[in-house]
């Protein structure tokens, strides 16, 4: 048995202070298999991946690699042993070229002790070629890493690991910022790498990806392994049940969609863009009590559209109406006062004040309404924050704790919750569930359904097609700054969504 295992973790434990991150967790990776590590945030899956990668030293237990017990003292030792890891957080040096980043730390083929520039260039091009047609024109060896969009940087990270020709490749949430086509290509390559005998460990929140690419999955909960399943013999419901520990509850039950479709009264918000930063001639309307989805590949103007609605991209040729009244927002504060709210896509860079408390993050847009004379009524502000925290089931220590003490899902609740304090009429969401765990996602869907029932208009961009399909009343698909399709009711299918994203017309063969 064990000789067929490429990498094995046996009864590995790790604690941080009083927190037990891993408790006697075991897992085995076979040669030529894709093995998923699943679990909610804080379940220990990332810690397990880090132990295997030599980033974290376990307190107890053993790691076996190719039949030998090993003990990595740092990531370099793990790398030398053939374990390469790709993380969600990017580690590229922004001021170095793509090529220099790829070979940083392990130089390309050398001749006479010097880097052979031509050979290095050729190998770089061969690597980049793997993703060439799913990336933009700047995806080239000499481009500075800092000039690439996040998805292409992530591709460089992946190639950097691949260039090591590892025996074990760990992909830790590596697909979170990739678009559908890029993920598709990556999974195609994963198939090839598998065939070469690599063992591949994938850590992801996206259920859909697990069923497309993984052979087996190890599920963790509260630091313990609660199950190992063969993907071919399980179901989505069973996996979610294992992850959450609750009786299987349909996540995509379309609970949000169950209520009556939005009444086609007058639109709450309408936008017409003639010429914008990335948007080219587009119109949309949002109705009260409607969740309007924005679909399409990454970076087709969805974020710019949301920012335009929120007044954060002034100087564009567009007209906007709120409840029929023409409005021109020159600054987010104006949009905010008119009842709009915006949850940005990059939580850490655009949504949080990392140095400040949970309280101050919650109240940032609302302080002015807590002035009593010259001073703020902090007691009232605290009560309001606690109330929203409770509504969102926020798990936190104290309101004065730094917001960085929260887990990703809980931090995202703060980013959303600060707007709930203002009771907005329109909610603009830029990929709000990216990188948060299944449990937090389920709570978020529930909340969205409630807000919708209260008559809010929601504009919702998601990089997860499942979310668009199950939550939205209508989906507008964007491609290169234009709307290529409006899908609703029976037309709102995965097939149509993907076709519209790629700008592919309907299949001729299926039509009479």
């Amino acid at each position: 048995m064990s000789e067929t295992l490429l990498l094995q973790a046996q009864r590995v434990s790790k604690r941080y202070g009083a927190t037990i991150a891993l408790q006697e967790a075991s897992f085995g990776l076979r040669k030529g298999e894709v093995h998923a590590l699943l679990g909610a945030n804080g379940s220990g899956k990332s810690t397990l991946a880090k132990v295997v990668a030599g980033v974290v030293a376990p307190d107890g237990g053993e790691i076996w690699l190719g039949g030998q017990a090993v003990r990595f003292r740092n990531p370099l030792e793990a790398r030398a042993a053939g374990i390469a890891v790709v993380y969600q957080e990017l580690s590229l040096v922004e001021d170095l070229s793509v090529q220099d980043n790829l070979w940083l730390g392990h130089e390309p083929p050398a001749r006479f002790g010097r880097v052979d520039a031509r050979a290095a260039r050729a190998r770089t091009e061969a690597l980049l070629g793997l993703f060439e047609d799913v990336a933009g024109p700047r995806f080239a060896p000499e481009t500075l890493a800092g000039e690439l969009p996040p998805d292409e940087r992530q591709l460089v990270e992946i190639l950097k690991a691949v260039s090591l020709e590892p025996r074990v490749l760990v992909l830790d949430e590596a697909t979170a910022s990739l678009d559908g086509r890029q993920v598709e290509r990556l999974f195609g390559l994963v198939g090839e790498w598998k065939a070469r005998g690599w063992g591949i460990v994938i850590v992801t929140h996206r259920m859909e990806e697990i069923f497309r690419v993984a052979d087996r999955a190890t599920v963790l909960r509260n630091g313990q392994v609660v199950g190992e399943v063969r993907i071919g013999e399980t179901s989505r419901e069973e996996l979610i049940g294992l992850i959450s520990g609750e009786a299987s509850r349909a996540l995509h039950s379309a609970e949000a969609r169950a209520s009556a479709p939005a009444r086609r009264t007058s639109p709450l918000l309408s936008l017409r863009v003639r010429r914008g930063r990335k948007l080219r001639g587009l119109e949309l309307e949002v109705y009260p009590g409607e969740i309007l989805g924005l679909g399409g590949l990454h970076g087709q103007g969805q974020s710019e559209l949301l920012l335009s609605l929120f007044g954060a991209l002034p100087g564009q040729d567009l007209s906007l109406r709120l409840e029929g009244q023409p409005r021109a927002f020159r600054h987010p504060s104006e949009a905010m006062r008119a009842g709009l709210a915006y949850v940005p896509g990059d939580r850490n860079r655009e949504g949080l004040l990392a140095a400040r408390s949970i309280l101050e993050n919650f109240l940032l847009p609302s302080w002015k309404s807590y002035h009593r004379g010259p001073l703020l009524d902090l007691g009232q502000a605290r009560r309001a924050a606690l109330e929203v925290g409770e509504k969102l089931k926020l798990k936190f220590g104290a309101l004065d704790d730094r917001v960085t003490s929260l887990s990703g899902g809980n931090a995202q609740k703060v980013v959303l919750g600060k707007w709930l304090l203002r009771s907005p009429r329109v909610l603009l969401l830029d990929d709000p569930t990216k990188g948060i765990d299944v449990g937090a996602k389920a709570e978020f869907y529930q909340l969205l359904a409630e807000l919708r029932a209260q008559g809010l208009g929601v504009v919702f961009y998601s990089s997860d097609d499942d979310e668009l399909l199950s939550l939205c009343d209508r989906v507008l698909v964007l491609l290169e700054g234009r709307i290529t399709a409006e899908l609703s009711h029976a037309e709102l299918t995965r097939d149509r969504l993907i076709r519209a994203s790629l700008g592919v017309k309907e299949v001729v063969s299926g039509e009479p």
Partner: protein, 322 residues
């Protein structure tokens, strides 16, 4: 996550408390080396000197909190200008003091406003903008005075600022404490203060949450100019005289006081209580070094080393907590 147990409660390990503890330690050390160093009269004198630095450092605290490499190098020059305006405008008349003070504060505010506009709208780095402004203000002072300030100090200023109010403690110390409470309330209990911490912590987040970042910056630099002019008023009340580089020696120590008080140079973290403690520590260090009879170069070196050690300690604290 793993943190060795620390015998001190968290509150006592915050930079302002470290600075206060250090101040007490320095006082005891001084008393030990030179008996009489911690006498009542000596302590009130140290408090009075710390008050000048502390008042001038109010603006510096706000500006550093605003982030974006915020710094105000024009504070010293504006201190001088503020004092000179009062000195010359009143010509020694008590009746003209109030209008003169308002004019000085207004001019300080305007100078800061120009700093803010240059930084927020023209996007000139704060270091460059305020350094340039320092030169401009010094030039203005020369034009205004012809190099030899004419005028006099209104007598009432002496009773407000240098004469003891109660218990032999001079007025400027009380003024400092009142301002300290006021500025702390401004930072902790007003929407302005909350927005200031927000723009210091993350400007993108602040903007996307409806904070007018540019307006905040302009207002903050303007307030810095105003508080510097107020520093000039207090200094004039103590010295009863002006000269054209009156405020210059305060510029760099204000930055040091802010930093010793635990406010992050990166912005978004800290407060004025820390700066007050920092001003006290710096004043004590200078007094102690003078008491020890160290030559000038020895004082400079020791002063610099103490700053570096303190910053290293804070850096460590922050890593432990982050």
């Amino acid at each position: 996550m793993t943190r060795p147990p620390n015998p001190l409660p968290t509150l006592l390990r915050t930079p302002p408390m470290i600075a206060v503890g250090l101040a007490v330690l320095l006082l005891l050390l001084g008393e030990l080396v030179r008996p009489g160093f911690a006498d009542y009269g000596q302590v009130t004198n140290i408090l009075r000197i710390a008050a000048f630095l502390g008042i001038v450092a109010i603006g510096q605290t706000l500006v550093i909190l605003s982030g974006g490499e915020g710094i105000d190098l024009s504070v010293g020059a504006v201190v001088t200008l503020g004092a000179i305006i009062i000195y010359r405008f009143t010509g020694g008349s008590d009746a003209l003091l109030l209008p003169a003070l308002l004019i000085a504060l207004g001019v300080g505010f305007l100078i800061g406003l120009v700093n803010g506009v240059g930084i927020a709208w023209v996007k000139i780095p704060p270091l460059v903008m305020t350094l340039g402004m320092m030169g401009v203000v010094k030039g203005l002072i020369l034009v205004y005075t012809g190099g030899r300030p004419q005028g006099a100090t209104p007598p009432v200023m002496k009773s407000i600022i240098s004469d003891p109010w109660v218990l032999g403690i001079p007025g400027d110390v009380f003024i400092w404490v009142i301002l300290g409470v006021g500025v702390t309330l401004l930072l902790q209990r007003t929407a302005y203060g909350k927005a200031l911490y927000a723009i210091g912590s993350n400007r993108t987040t602040a903007r996307l949450s409806g904070v007018r970042v540019e307006r905040m910056l302009i207002l903050t630099y303007a307030l810095s100019g105003m508080f510097s002019a107020l520093g000039g008023f207090v200094l004039l009340g103590y010295l009863q005289n002006v000269f054209i580089n009156l405020g210059d020696p305060y510029t760099l120590p204000t930055i040091a006081a802010v930093v010793v008080g635990g406010t992050a140079l990166a912005g978004g973290m800290g407060g004025y209580a820390g700066t007050m403690a920092g001003a006290l520590v710096l004043t004590l260090v200078s007094s102690l070094l003078i008491t020890l009879g160290l030559p000038e170069f020895g004082r400079q070196i020791t002063y610099g080393l103490i700053l570096l050690v303190l910053l290293a300690v804070y850096g460590r604290e922050r890593r432990l907590r982050g």
